[in-house]
Symmetry: C2
Subunit: 338 residues, 2 copies
């Protein structure tokens, strides 16, 4: 006898939340919560989300609502796709409606400011007892929705849950791998945005593909060092949610964090860049947090340090590059951080 | 008292050999051997190598010659920059002139056909007793020569030699790290070209940045699995000569191997593509070798297999992608190869 497939509620009608909801709707009954009623109406009636995804068509069976209780109350799986700074408050609003036991899957790449908590740690605090994991990978929303082949990994505290959830999100062209390193995947996702800004500096300064490959490679080392110190598995950082996501974020013209670095290097002010974007670039907020974590865990992070100096302390991007080139390289694996 | 800096001979006047010779000439007396007398004359007299490097200026003190004995006889360091298929014969020609003890540094990314030997294994056979290592990294010759920041790693069997050679090649903008994993670096360099062809397929088929990041990430896993089975260190594959070089090769429009895959996917024949290039794309020859090594070492290599099917067995590139998408993904780290 076939089991009833779990229904999915996705909270957050931005580009990635809408895209994942559209994927899930191909496999099971899926409801998307969007804060703006007009966005919800457009998704349900016109199968589009023009504010974030242009004219790309969504799965026709996907329903959206601006009523959080309605979205959550019947869901067997809760997917969180709101910005990291709203994660706790939106989750708290659902506590009274959410069904017991159901897993919570975060799509959010960032750490909570102030507390520096990972999103699944917030789930454990707000909604104790619910298994919490992450779906992440090198995924540019518009490309996934447009049907380009892509891959992601779903990590849950136990492999069995990961395998059951895998089937809700995978399609022929969206390959979903499984894993159990929840902290590693969350840390990789939060930290990589900082390094995408560094790569954006280089691109804005018209550095070449060599420079970019160097910065990406050394960034991953830096990121993995902190990630492992904070409890992640080294394997994770070499995988889709580490290296893979870093490559996509650092090389796609659609990447928001890379865009911020690029425009800063071209001379725009941070205020102006942020004002012109209609979505959050998480790396801008994360770089200060990363510097605090690096200090706490005794990890040297020269690239992140330069990004933080530009974002938070007014250093020109060209000086960030010059600073990095001033030090002499040592042993690649056992030498200094940069 | 300052020690006399070792003089360098670079054998091979292609784009990368010329570029490395130009870097070394900034640090020490350097002679480049080019097979074509006209190329040698142009380098010495006009400080350019227009056949391979357009109008980019070379270090003025760099001298070139078409006389192999002249280039080799006074050298304290021998740098090999000829195609992998000429490596053994060119090296053998130098045996009678080369000074005793001097280190041999290979810049060559490939394995010898037939024997499947790494270049430093050929050095051990042809010139036993000379320490042999590799200088490698994410380096597009024209970008390095044009003065974009870049990084590479020099590996020698012992760390001391690597540190001494480091100073001959590094400049303010060309960062040279050190290491000792000679087999790992050579294997990474040889194998990555095969995967650059796979990425080229995707780009030629107009897949997106997601697809590219997925293929690069899963390629590195595949490459590292074989590399570790053959004696390389896992750390190497996560570094500049592994991941770094793979990223540069897979994302630069100047990459020859990526170009082959791209043009194949756009419908050109392999013969036509090869005829139109004035330099070798090592991956075309390496993919058959890789399949044999994979079989010998019992490593499953689905991406390399698809590349081999296209290059050597007439499979259309679009079928290669379809074949890969047909399998279901498992655990990202402990699951199947793809």
């Amino acid at each position: 006898m076939a089991r009833r497939p779990p229904s999915v509620a996705v909270l957050g009608g931005g580009s990635w939340g809408t895209t994942v909801a559209s994927l899930a709707a191909q496999n099971t009954e899926t409801t998307l919560w969007a804060r703006a009623a007009e966005v919800a109406r457009e998704i349900t009636e016109e199968h589009r989300n023009t504010r974030y995804l242009g004219d790309l068509p969504l799965t026709a069976s996907l329903r959206a609502t601006a009523d959080l209780a309605e979205a959550v109350s019947a869901a067997d799986v809760l997917v969180m796709a709101v910005p990291s700074q709203s994660f706790r408050s939106v989750l708290a609003e659902t506590v009274e409606q959410v069904r017991p036991w159901i897993p919570v899957v975060s799509l959010v790449k960032g750490l909570e400011q102030g507390t520096r908590r990972r999103m699944t740690q917030i789930v454990a605090e707000v909604m104790p007892g619910h298994p919490a994991g992450v779906l992440a990978g090198p995924n540019i929303a518009k490309e996934v929705l447009a049907g380009y082949a892509a891959a992601a990994t779903i990590v849950m505290p136990d492999q069995r849950s990961a395998e059951m959830l895998q089937d809700l999100f995978r399609t022929k062209l969206f390959r979903v791998y499984t894993g159990t390193d929840v902290p590693g995947v969350e840390l990789a996702g939060a930290l990589k945005n900082v390094f995408a800004i560094a790569v954006g500096f280089g691109d804005g300064l018209k550095a070449g593909h060599n420079t970019r490959a160097m910065v990406i490679t050394r960034s991953l080392r830096e990121l993995a060092r902190l990630g492992v110190a904070m409890g992640g598995d080294a394997d994770t950082f070499a995988g889709l949610t580490g290296m893979g996501d870093l490559i996509a974020t650092c090389t796609s013209p659609l990447s928001r964090n890379r865009h911020v670095g690029y425009e800063l290097a071209r001379g725009k002010s941070l205020e102006q860049i942020v004002a012109e974007m209609n979505q959050v670039a998480e790396g801008v907020k994360t770089c200060g947090v990363v510097m605090k974590l690096a200090a706490e865990h005794g990890v040297d992070m020269p690239i992140a340090h330069e990004v933080d100096s530009v974002i938070n302390h007014g250093q020109p991007p060209v000086e960030a590059y010059r600073g990095l080139l001033r030090t002499a390289p040592g042993h690649e694996v056992h030498g200094e951080a940069w």
